[in-house]
Amino acid sequence: MCPSHDLNLYPFSRGFLQHWTKGSTPSSQQYFNITMTLELIEVLRLLMLATKQHKRHGPEKKGGLLVLIQTETNSDDNFYCAVAAAGPWCAGVNMAELHSVFTDVMRRLHPCSRPCPEPDIEDLCAFTDLYGSLRVFLNFLMKNVHVCKEKCQHQIETFLHSFCMTNAEIKVHLKLQSGQKHCQKEFRVKDYLRVMLFSQTPVYLDVSVNIHLESPEREQRCHGGRPDIGSSLHLSIPPKIVEQGLLGTVSLQPVTLLKPCVLQYPNRATNLTQCQVLVYNPSNIPASNASAFVQNFSAHLNCEDLGLQSHRLSFQVIPSVGSVYKVEQVNSPESCVKSSLFSIDLSLVLFLFLQHIDPFITDVSDTMATEVLLEHHLGEILLYNQQIVTNAMTNALRKTLMAQNKRKKEQEKMQSACDSIISSTLRIISCSSNMDFRKACLDSMQVHNTKKMSETFSESLRRVIFLKFVPKGACCSDQIGQKLEKSSKHLRVEM
């Protein structure tokens, strides 16, 4: 694929690069194309590791990240990429160390590359106007891209979208320039919550929803989903990977996020339509090499145990979203719930966060190399710990879906009772010989005959019952304890 790459690039990642140059596993290509975005991923990994220590302490640190990609003149296969960062989130970065590691990484990836042209100052000005002066600016070449630009764009967007889901305090701007064509995208998160993982690592989770739910007062509406934090578990490292240099301890912590929050709509039917599993490296960037494990996970799921007995899960890859399980209801006489105009579609995201601790590794360069090695062997590590990882994932899903399943049963009861109320009420009206009473009922519903009365009353009663809205005090967001801190930002609409 990239013959110019030096196999001695990363001592610990030799196996990874061999794997990669031979044409990496279909699963990793399916997730996003490593051959195209390797440089970008590595730069982001470096940046996140450099800022991690600084982020751990103190309040939320926001800011912006600019990814500017331009095609090299006279070459459609090479891209110049500039990554710029501004704002408090990257304020504590040791710039000298960062540049040193960056130079080292780039030299190893592209030993013979020439200096990259500076991007247009106007592109940077727009960014600095928003976030202040640049604290980080890294300019590099993305080489030898052999796939169509459209697919490349989709895959970069997918990667950045996944990145933003767990780094929601950072606003990401993507600019693509190819010839005369310019494309700009902003990845902004409307609502996010701070979650503490592994007892000490803050992560800002995107909990915003993309659907509009009616409510009497917008301010009273909950603006997010509900994360459930699972217990962390230690993963055993296979001996052969230990021999390759991955030492220390690896942990995994699942977090589920069911969106949107429906506690304020206690009577609306809900329908789980999508389940996404995302894996994140210790640096909090999306991890590759887990797709095969994720794809096979559904085979170990007991749908009945999760209350999804009338559903089937099909694994799909959706552009800009990534790998998801589409959840489809299998219609049968027993499982068919009356179609409801008021049903809310739910999506479930299962985040798997990784942590690696090795007390003998302290500097960014070694940490980065170790993470690359971990990511390269991630599929094998997950498979080696298949039982406990699958159990942890299943338990996390079961816990989150338990409330939904209870709600579904109550929904069915309410539907049945509502039908009874409607038929009983209309029966009395239709068989009454009291003209005053009948007229009063018809006038009340503003109809002229019992047929219209039947339609209008039926629709109105269902609306009144199933669209019930409760004020924000009943919402989970106000009840969540120490691990979660509410963010009340209402930012511009995300891409």
């Binding site: 009772a417 009874s420 009353f457």
Partner: protein, 388 residues
């Protein structure tokens, strides 16, 4: 023979005169029978409120008087326990998963009642249950809701055209006609007939009974029946509700009092639950307090088994049973009830039971002699006025 009979009833006759004198001074029973059209209008009013709520985009709710709250009940010595005019309510909402089913059940039963009245037909509570077993879930739910509706509309259940299958039995010197014209003769000495389901339809009551004996338990009732007690203590009427009496049994006792104006005696076990059952006949229950005036018979007298009888008759100790914690709790509860304070003699008996810490069933008298109840206890009690 005639003089012996007169001797047996002399105290009873004196009691009757006294009761008749008191009855003139009591408040007349309210005529609670409502016309069908009034009840239809009441139901229509509820439905209109539901429709109006929906038209205003509000979830309809029903406000049911709380029948189980002591706060909603007061005591009147001439009536018994009756529901206050100002009561607290339970709100049954249609937009809450916890209460929507009950809301639906109530509206469904209102519909059934509405149609029964329109067609001038009757149904039992059991019929209503089988109308939609999935919605109602259990017979007890239907029973409870029918009483809730009766209380909500302030009409007796029989006005709702809902009948209950009676569980009680009656025997003795009594003949009457049912509403459908059937002639009921209770005079066969060793059989009893079920109490009618439609007490208000009973007419042409003929009886020369000198008293009515309410028997708590079916077992005791059957024993007395087998021993031909109605013949031995003739003329009399004997009735049982088989434990806690249903509404029809209570209505029947009330009907006998209203028609015959003869003393009514209760024969219950000397235990807290027997006393409570007797109080239901006499003063009514909290749950049915809204219909007290047609269900209570404040003139009921406690014939036996009295706690003081146990000592007086030297009932063998092995026939006595120690009170349990539940019995103590029930006794304390009885002592707090307003009507007990109104009956000093009953209060004394209850306090005696508390002191002796024992209870006894009527059958315990068999420990004295097998036929002691029939041949000694009852005749002497009646002859010498041994009631309180």
């Amino acid at each position: 023979m005639a003089s012996q009979a007169n001797e047996l009833f002399s105290e009873i006759d004196k009691l009757r005169i006294q009761l008749l004198h008191n009855a003139e001074q009591t408040v007349q029973r309210a005529d609670e029978e409502r016309r069908n059209s009034e009840i239809l209008a009441l139901i229509e009013n509820i439905i209109l409120k539901i429709v109006t709520s929906v038209s205003q985009e509000e979830a309809p709710a029903l406000h049911l008087p709380k029948r189980s709250s002591w706060d909603n009940v007061s005591f009147d010595s001439s009536v018994g326990l009756q529901m206050n005019s100002e009561t607290t309510f339970t709100v049954v909402r249609s937009d809450s998963p916890a209460s929507i089913t009950k809301f639906a059940q109530i509206v469904k039963i209102l519909t059934v009642i509405y149609e029964l009245i329109l067609s001038n037909s009757y149904a039992t509570k059991r019929d209503i249950y089988y109308n939609d077993t999935q919605l109602f879930g259990s017979q007890a739910t239907v029973d409870h809701i029918v009483d809730d509706i009766s209380c909500l509309l302030k009409v007796p259940r029989r006005s709702l055209h809902v009948l209950a299958t009676s569980k009680g039995l009656i025997t003795g010197d009594l003949c009457y006609l049912e509403e459908d014209g059937s002639r009921m003769d209770c005079r066969a000495s060793n059989t009893a007939i079920p109490i009618s389901s439609n007490i208000s339809g009973i007419k042409n009551i003929v009886s020369s009974a000198r008293f009515v004996l309410i028997v708590e338990k079916d077992a005791t009732f059957q024993r007395l029946l087998d021993d031909h007690v109605c013949a031995k203590l003739s003329p009399c009427i004997m009735i049982t509700g088989k434990g806690v009496p249903d509404v029809n049994s209570r209505l029947m006792v009330r009907k006998l009092w209203d028609t015959l104006h003869i003393p009514i005696f209760a024969l219950v076990d000397a235990d807290p639950y027997g006393i409570e059952i007797m109080c239901i006949y006499k003063y009514g229950s909290r749950a049915m307090s809204f219909e007290a005036r047609s269900l209570t018979v404040p003139s009921v007298m406690w014939l036996g088994l009295l706690p003081s009888d146990l000592k007086r008759l030297r009932v063998p100790e092995n026939a006595l049973i120690p009170l349990t914690k539940k019995d103590d709790a029930k006794l304390n509860s009885l002592l707090k009830r307003p009507y007990v304070q109104n009956q000093p003699d009953w209060l004394k008996e209850i306090e005696l039971m508390q002191q002796t810490k024992v209870k006894a069933e009527i059958q315990s008298l068999a420990a004295i002699a097998p036929d002691f109840l029939i041949n000694v206890y009852l005749p002497n009690k009646l002859r010498y006025g041994g009631w309180v």
